[in-house]
């Protein structure tokens, strides 16, 4: 009975029209194999594409463009870019120069671009050519430049580890062991970053408390001096009115 059922299923499998949909589309059409500019979009699932200078892992519905062998522009979605040689990664609000073995995680939002230094300390440059260094395990966001030449930029802080693991797990093409190793290394840096931030926060809080105490002292001193001044004035008027 089972055998017959198996044969029946086998028969159905061969007769049903199975279509494998294309996962990546490019613009101009079929430009990926050729040289030059090429816009790429993943349609249904996370994909990974290799370049001469590195590799780009990207989520479904993400869009990016290869400008040249060493330069790419990320347009929409989120990405993990790994560099094998020096690579220029552009986004709408920030440009990152990746050195060999460095890895960058980027989330392109509607009005801001969030960057995470996944491996190595990254060199960033905003639209006004200001340069920043983003240490490993830190994240920062960058926004647009307005007509008064002001640029919107966040404050560097340790990355959200939990969120990052989920996003990386969804897009990374690394082997399980490799991903585990990378995350372990990232976690060490992240713990260090948290400690540093904690130290900085404590130092900053101490400074604020110190400033507040100084202020209290200053106010007390001021009150004391004013009281002396008032007493002197009273004495002066008293003498002027009743003694002279």
């Amino acid at each position: 009975m089972k055998t017959i059922f198996k044969f029946f299923i086998l028969y159905l499998v061969f007769t049903v029209n199975i279509q494998i949909k294309a996962q990546i589309i490019s613009e101009p059409r079929n430009c990926w194999q050729k040289e030059g500019e090429c816009g790429v979009k993943s349609l249904h699932r996370a994909e990974s594409l290799s370049l001469i200078h590195g590799q780009v892992d990207f989520a479904s519905d993400s869009i990016w463009k290869r400008s040249s062998d060493e330069s790419i522009r990320l347009i929409k979605g989120y990405f993990l870019v790994s560099a094998e040689a020096v690579m220029n990664v552009q986004t709408k609000y920030i440009t990152v120069t990746l050195k060999p073995k460095q890895k960058l995680f980027v989330n392109i939002g509607f009005d801001r671009v969030e960057v995470v230094a996944f491996q190595g300390d990254l060199e960033l440059q905003d639209l006004l050519y200001n340069k920043y260094v983003l240490p490993q395990a830190y994240t920062n966001w960058f926004g647009k430049i307005d007509s008064n030449k002001n640029i919107e930029v966040g404050f560097p802080r340790p990355a959200n580890f939990k969120e990052l693991i989920a996003q990386l797990g969804a897009i990374s093409s690394m082997k399980k062991s490799e991903l585990h190793q990378s995350l372990k290394s990232f976690k060490d840096s992240w713990t260090k970053a948290i400690d540093e931030t904690q130290d900085r926060s404590i130092a900053s809080s101490n400074r604020i408390i110190e400033e507040w105490r100084e202020n209290l002292k200053y106010q007390a001193e001021r009150r004391r001096l004013r009281a002396i001044e008032r007493r002197k004035m009273r004495e002066f008027f008293y003498n002027k009115t009743f003694r002279e």
Binding site: M1, E27, I63, L127, K144, I145, N148
Partner: protein, 228 residues
Amino acid sequence: MKSQVIYIFTVLLMGFWCLVFAKFHHHFNNPDIYQEQISYLKDEVAHKELKNELLKDQHIQFQMDVARVLPQALKQSPTGEKSYPLRALASLVLAKDHKNFKESSMKRDFQRAKKLFRDKQFGLAARAFVEFIDKNPFSMDINEAFFLLSESYFQMDDYERCLTTVEKMIELFPESELTGYAMIRMGKIYEYQERPEEAVDIYQTVLLTFPERGIASQARKSLQSVEL
């Protein structure tokens, strides 16, 4: 044993029935062509969307370039009216909000003009449509605005202006269905003006250009009435 045989026979019969049904369905519906068409169109849409996103990105890049050089340029620019092009360029940087605002204002203007038309205040409606067309030449409703403008003129017995508007519609939107209806209106005006030959020409052109049922039947009726 017997029940097993019946069971096997039923399964085989079902399989055979599925096969026959699939063959018949395929023969009479021939879905392959439609499936191919659908997948081709889906592919086209995906490519268009990608192209659109790449162009949007270029636009953002341009906005940022403008924002980068603009403050410097504004300092050196002349004041008053002469600085208008630069200020217009500055507004590009904040284009998103501006676009939303413009779209809503455009819709409001058009609805106001349409309401006047519905209320049979044709003079005011015509003025509102002219204003709308001047202000929003790239609006999605521009075609309908032209049509209602021509109708407003017709209702006001201002045939010359109505003809000019319809001619403009023929020039700007030759394939639009509304242009077809406006052309029928043009034919009617020729009839009133006792120019039957020109009216016939117009109706025949409508019949040839817009073979769709509504317009064509209207044109045919009008043609018959002229020939009578």
